[in-house]
């Protein structure tokens, strides 16, 4: 029994479990022993680094931001950031996420082989994030456990890993001028929408391409995620804290109480001890506090990204190697910067237009709040830059520079409204300060987050498996247009 206990203990320790996944991948590739040891250990360290980053992000800034925002506006303010929500969720659903990720990759290969969507999704961090979100929704909200959870989750993950590149490919083949690579990024539905908006509005007009006009490129420095997250979070902290202080935050708590008393009597300010100068040896100016908190957020994300890099650095090459052997003709679905080199101007214009869409969307949400309380989704620079830029490239490919502006503006609205609609699902599960930013996470979250409230258990599992099998059945039942299906 001691051995069984040991095995169960290993399988329920997420860090070691992902290490075993890497080990399996490295062995299947026939790597030398030293590479196997190196890769396995790095993967485990990656998971531990990620957990450390998550803890720092929560305690260093995210929880404080929620408390300040709530005081300033009496509303829930949310900064969409994949890393923030994933890292926290992985500490509770790590085992399920790791198993769902592994199964999802296997199921991706099966779909690429037997459906008409021959895509291998190689953006490993998004695979990990999606696995995590599915685990939270099916396991946390849906109450699935064990084999049911792993099977249902793996099926959903495998499905979205081919579905997202498939709907992106409508426009992406016009971006690349070919059909040999695909886009694998879970902002997919937003890019598709941007392309369609551009096509419908400006498809016939043939406006100039963004690449034929001269556009300043100086904003490109925001591609550095550490810089862009640090900058935006500093600005958010200063604005929100300034308003909170104007509304009397600094005198909301009586002076002279201890940090323990603060946590006990004022739980709504539990993470603001430094700002309120409670139980501190030195006094802190609020602007200094804001700068530190904003940059702590960037620091937390930096640490999390380092962890994610170590985790997926071994798993993705193994996945690609195995997929290449089993489905030789499959198209690799790659991360969104692949699109950027095709239209560098559209990247900047798309970002700006999407960001403006995000601000307009925020104002609309504030307007809605009077009638119906919703979470306010703040425009984070990272999703607007990476996803907005990609949406801009898609819009440009369908409708020139006008298509780029219109498409990415609509994209900006979309990635503000979708997370707001999705937020109740995550709030129920205790994730209040942050949520997934990119569009595919949101639509999956909305559909399956609400589905789990009407069904569960075996029925839910069967639904997920049936959805997964649908494209395979379709492939064999529906008549083919031509031999290749393309």
């Amino acid at each position: 029994m001691a051995v069984l206990g040991f095995v169960i203990n290993i399988l329920s320790t997420p860090a070691i479990l992902v290490g075993l996944l890497a080990l399996l991948g490295l062995c299947l590739q026939g790597k030398p022993v030293e590479d196997i040891i190196k890769g396995t250990l790095k993967t485990i360290v990656g998971f531990l680094v990620l957990s450390a980053g998550a803890a720092f992000l929560q305690s260093g800034s995210l929880l404080a931001f929620g408390e300040i925002f709530n005081y300033a506006f009496n509303m829930q303010g949310v900064v969409p950031n994949n890393e923030a929500v994933v890292a926290d969720a992985l500490t509770n659903f790590g085992t399920a996420s790791a198993i769902i990720m592994a199964l999802g990759m296997v199921f991706n290969i099966v779909l690429a082989r037997f459906s008409r969507m021959p895509y291998i999704f190689l953006t490993g961090h998004h695979t990990l994030y999606m696995a995590c979100m599915i685990a939270v929704i099916l396991g946390g909200a849906g109450g699935l456990t064990g084999v049911e959870l792993y099977l249902a989750g793996g099926c959903l993950l495998g499905l979205i890993m081919v579905l997202s590149p498939a709907y992106c490919q409508v426009t992406f083949r016009k971006v690349t001028g070919g059909n040999s690579i695909a886009l694998g990024h879970f902002g997919g539905i937003g890019y598709w929408l941007s392309g369609q908006v551009a096509r419908v509005l400006f498809g016939k007009e043939k406006s100039k391409s963004t690449e034929e006009i001269n556009f300043p490129k100086r904003l490109i420095f925001l591609r550095d995620t550490t810089v862009s997250i640090g900058l935006t979070m500093m600005i958010f902290f200063i604005i929100v804290t300034g308003i909170a202080i104007a509304r009397g935050l600094l005198s909301a708590v009586p002076a002279g109480i201890t940090a323990d008393e603060l946590a006990a009597s004022y739980p709504q300010f539990a993470h603001l001890a430094v700002l309120l100068n409670i139980g501190q040896e030195t006094t802190t100016n609020w602007i200094v506090w804001c700068v530190t908190c904003g940059l702590s957020f960037a620091g937390g994300v930096y640490v999390i990204l380092s962890g994610v890099r170590l985790i997926i650095g071994e798993i993705v090459p193994a996945f690609k190697g195995i997929a290449d052997k089993i489905v030789p003709g499959a198209k690799p679905a790659l991360d969104c910067p692949v699109a950027f080199t095709y239209a560098p101007n559209a990247v900047i214009i798309g970002f700006l237009s999407s960001f403006i869409g995000g601000i307009v969307g925020l104002l609309i949400l504030i307007g809605c709040n009077a009638a119906l309380p919703v979470a306010l989704i703040l425009p984070g620079v990272v999703p607007h830059f990476f996803c907005g830029a990609t949406a801009g490239v898609f819009g440009n490919a369908e409708g020139g520079w006008k298509g780029c502006v219109a498409g990415s503006f609509v994209h900006g609205l979309l990635i503000t409204f979708l997370p707001a609609i999705c937020m109740p699902v995550f709030t129920q599960l205790g994730y209040v300060g942050s949520t997934f930013s990119d569009a595919d996470f949101s639509w999956m979250g909305i559909i399956f987050g609400n589905m789990v409230s009407v069904t569960g258990g075996l029925v839910l599992t069967v639904v997920c498996v049936a959805l997964y099998l649908l494209p395979i059945v379709y492939n064999y039942v529906a008549p083919k247009k031509d031999a290749a299906g393309e």
């Binding site: 190689l122 953006t123 490993g124 961090h125 998004h126 690579i181 990024h185 490129k217 490109i220 420095f221 591609r223 550095d224 995620t225 550490t226 810089v227 930096y302 990204l305 994610v308 890099r309 997926i312 650095g313 993705v316 090459p317 690609k320 690799p332 790659l334 991360d335 969104c336 910067p337 692949v338 950027f340 080199t341 560098p344 990247v347 990476f386």
Partner: protein, 93 residues
């Protein structure tokens, strides 16, 4: 100077730099330089001492402006292995 360590970089150091990393390893093996260490990271981490050669996509050329030409490869198309091979050959010669 002999190249011992190559660093591929992208915005968050997760997706496209890993693709370039995998392609680079494949090309190096083909060119008989399988012993060169390859890694990938974020553009935040680029500094001249971190590696002997840096590889980035053309859209990120500004981030390697402080790196001398003989220590960097800027790719027009980050998924084009032929371009990568040609440019790596020039650096390894």
């Amino acid at each position: 100077m002999a190249i011992r360590r190559i660093m591929c970089a992208c915005g968050s150091g997760l997706g496209s730099s890993l693709m370039v990393h995998m392609n680079t390893e494949e090309v190096l093996k083909k060119l008989g330089h399988g012993d060169i260490e390859v890694d990938h990271t974020t553009i935040s981490d680029i500094n001249p001492t971190a590696a002997d050669l840096f590889i980035v996509g053309g859209d990120l050329a500004d981030f390697v402006s402080s790196i001398p030409d003989e220590k960097k490869v800027v790719l027009k198309n980050i998924v084009d292995k032929a371009e990568l091979e040609e440019k790596l050959k020039a650096h390894l010669a």
